[in-house]
């Protein structure tokens, strides 16, 4: 049924429809509304046969999910930002053990400086932890991806995280078509664990493995992730036939047919990018967009296929590898190796800075006119004058003090405000 609902409430409802048996979570902004809502749904009995564990930390949340999943029950958690990092060790355990935990990440920046707003630094920091990473561009897709995430996780016995932009999506009230319980039950069968701790038939899960087999165990992890590249489109096709919506899959091409310039991005910025693509198409610019729905495993062949006719690729990403460059950009460059195209890395929307149509227009006009140096990492809307003033100031004394606080003073912001 279509309803006008907050993203977090829609996701909580979708997770409820997936009938998790254990939800273990620790609250952190902007994930809070999701887990509050789930806790309420367990209390009222809307989410039946489920134990909600309010644990002492994110490390505890993921550890509880690992235990519950190993005991053979469908397990779910959600987190953001520092909470995801606090789980880091347990994330590798969940994937190393091949446990099909599903987690929502309400994407948020990583401090310091402390910042509660949206970017992708959290999930990008954990991109190599062995979890499947799916990115939602709208609340409808976030709902749909959760259904597909449980299905994927359990069919391959791998953990899956669904990444949705914190605040931008989690706190946005949008139209969402929520499926019925019967529809979800028909799409997502009962959880049949591929491994289970059972006192009747005791097994060990998580034994020490030495040099004699560690490589082989890791090789199998990699092979299973690559198998997800085949499984994800199959699940998306079945989803489409049951729910009548194109959702999920590996990548989402937009107006690529004759596009010479292609913008690659993940998450909620894609909607704004598609609007800009339409506006530039009106002006006769051959431009398109490629949304990456599945970032891990990395769909190299699909990305290469989607980009092979392009002359310029602009990767707009809400995170970067400090001291190295773009993260998605590196992967795109790898996927398009040997093709006659130029890849620009653009860092945008860090710590909640809005990625606006106006800024994207300026950027893409520069790209199309070959005014942007592809050898350099580009920061969208960077206040270079502020940076230079701070560098000048910091050169002035023996102990110049912290940058962040003096830059805030420089722009006249006492306490941080997202809108001034």
């Amino acid at each position: 049924m279509r309803s006008q609902v907050e993203g977090s409430q829609a996701v909580a409802r979708a997770v409820t429809l997936c009938r998790p048996q254990v939800v273990a979570a620790y609250p952190i902004s902007p994930q809070t509304h999701i887990v509050e809502s789930l806790s309420d749904r367990v209390r009222t009995g809307e989410l039946a046969d489920c134990e909600y564990l309010l644990v002492e930390s994110e490390f505890g949340a993921m550890s509880a999910c690992i235990g519950a999943s190993a005991a053979g029950v469908r397990s779910y958690t959600a987190t953001s930002s520092q909470g995801l990092l606090f789980m880091a060790e347990a994330l590798f355990n969940a994937s190393g053990l091949g446990l099909p935990v599903v987690m929502t990440v309400a994407n948020r920046a990583i401090g310091a400086p402390i910042n509660i707003w949206n970017d992708h630094s959290d999930t990008m920091a954990m991109r190599d932890c062995g979890w499947v990473q799916l990115f939602a561009e709208s609340n409808q897709r976030a709902v749909d991806l959760h259904l597909q995430a449980f299905r994927l996780a359990e069919s391959l016995s791998v953990p899956v995280m669904v990444c949705m932009d914190g605040f931008v999506l989690t706190h946005a009230v949008e139209e969402v078509d929520l499926p019925t319980q019967d529809e979800v039950d028909a799409f997502l069968p009962r959880f049949l664990p591929q491994q289970q701790l059972d006192p009747e038939e005791p097994v060990t899960i998580g034994a020490m493995v030495g040099p004699e087999a560690f490589t082989e165990v890791k090789y199998l992890m990699h092979a299973k992730q690559l198998a997800a590249l085949d499984e994800i489109p199959v699940i998306a096709a079945e989803f489409r036939s049951r729910f009548g919506r194109d959702s999920g899959g590996l990548v989402r091409p937009y107006r690529l047919e004759d596009a010479e310039t292609v913008v690659v991005a993940l998450g909620s910025v894609l909607g704004t990018i598609e609007d800009v693509v339409d506006e530039m198409r009106e002006l006769g610019v051959a431009i398109g967009a490629l949304g990456i729905t599945c970032f891990r495993p990395w769909p190299a062949a699909e990305v290469r296929d989607a980009l092979h006719r392009a002359a310029r690729v602009v990767v707009v990403e809400r995170a970067f590898a400090v001291g190295a460059g773009g993260i998605v950009g590196q992967n795109v460059r790898d996927a398009t190796r040997g093709l006659p195209l130029v890849v620009h890395d653009v860092v945008a929307g860090l710590g909640g800075r809005a990625v606006t149509r106006a800024s994207l227009h300026r950027l893409l006009e520069d790209v199309v006119a070959d005014r942007l140096d592809p050898a350099r990492l580009h920061f969208l809307d960077l206040d270079i004058a502020l940076v230079e003033r701070e560098l000048t100031r910091a050169r002035g004394g023996r102990r110049p003090g912290p940058h962040a606080e003096s830059m805030l003073r420089e722009i006249g912001t006492v306490a941080s405000g997202a809108y001034d």
């Binding site: 006008q4 605040f167 946005a172 009230v173 909607g271 704004t272 405000g417």
Partner: protein
């Protein structure tokens, strides 16, 4: 596309107002999107929320920089925040005040706007009367509906009653109705003059 920006202070219901407006539009078969800007939540701190209404699905998630309508829930914000940034010349303006816009020092700005697109509403007083609490958001929604015609009054009051069952919803719905009437009366006086 019709884009609304609401400026208020934490606790005045700016975020709820944008959400209710989006629900009212959705109930009329339109597409709508509401979202706030977020800070570390503090009562009294400046808050901004947005609502987009369109006949087509809305894909963009950027903040509203050039609103078609602006709602100012607290006139003391005028000294603190550039609330009028990006307001289109044919845009709508609703200000919560029991004073006149001249008295608020807005005469110069109002000159640049279409006269029948601008209204001052004593929303806090109306809320006190109908609700017993100084929460201006529901009456301001009623005023916005009257001024812009983007959504009907009944959609607004339905959205309010749906969100707040019982006495609270009734009081807010009545406050919205009173503010709606206030704006219609003000506009009639303007056209008669």
């Amino acid at each position: 596309m019709f884009a609304v920006r609401i400026h208020g202070r934490g606790g005045q219901g700016a975020v709820t107002a944008a959400e209710l407006l989006s629900v009212a539009a959705f109930d009329e078969g339109l597409h709508a999107q509401a979202f706030p800007t977020f800070g570390s939540e503090r009562t009294g701190a400046p808050v901004v929320s947005f609502c987009r209404i369109d006949t087509r699905p809305i894909r963009s998630h950027e903040p509203v920089a050039e609103p078609d309508a602006l709602v100012v829930q607290d006139p003391t914000l005028l000294h603190q925040v550039d609330v009028f940034a990006g307001l289109k010349p044919d845009g709508f303006l609703v200000v919560n005040t029991s004073a006149t816009l001249d008295q608020l020092g807005l005469a110069e700005l109002v000159e640049t706007l279409t006269p029948e697109h601008v209204v001052a509403v004593p929303a806090t007083d109306i809320a006190r009367e109908h609700l017993g609490r100084p929460l201006p958001n529901a009456p301001l929604l009623g005023a916005l509906a009257a001024l812009t015609g983007q959504v009907s009054l009944s959609s607004v009051t339905d959205a309010i009653r749906d969100r707040f069952p019982g006495q609270v919803g009734e009081g807010n719905a009545h406050a919205a109705e009173a503010a709606y009437e206030h704006v219609l009366t003000t506009m009639r006086r303007l056209t008669d003059a």
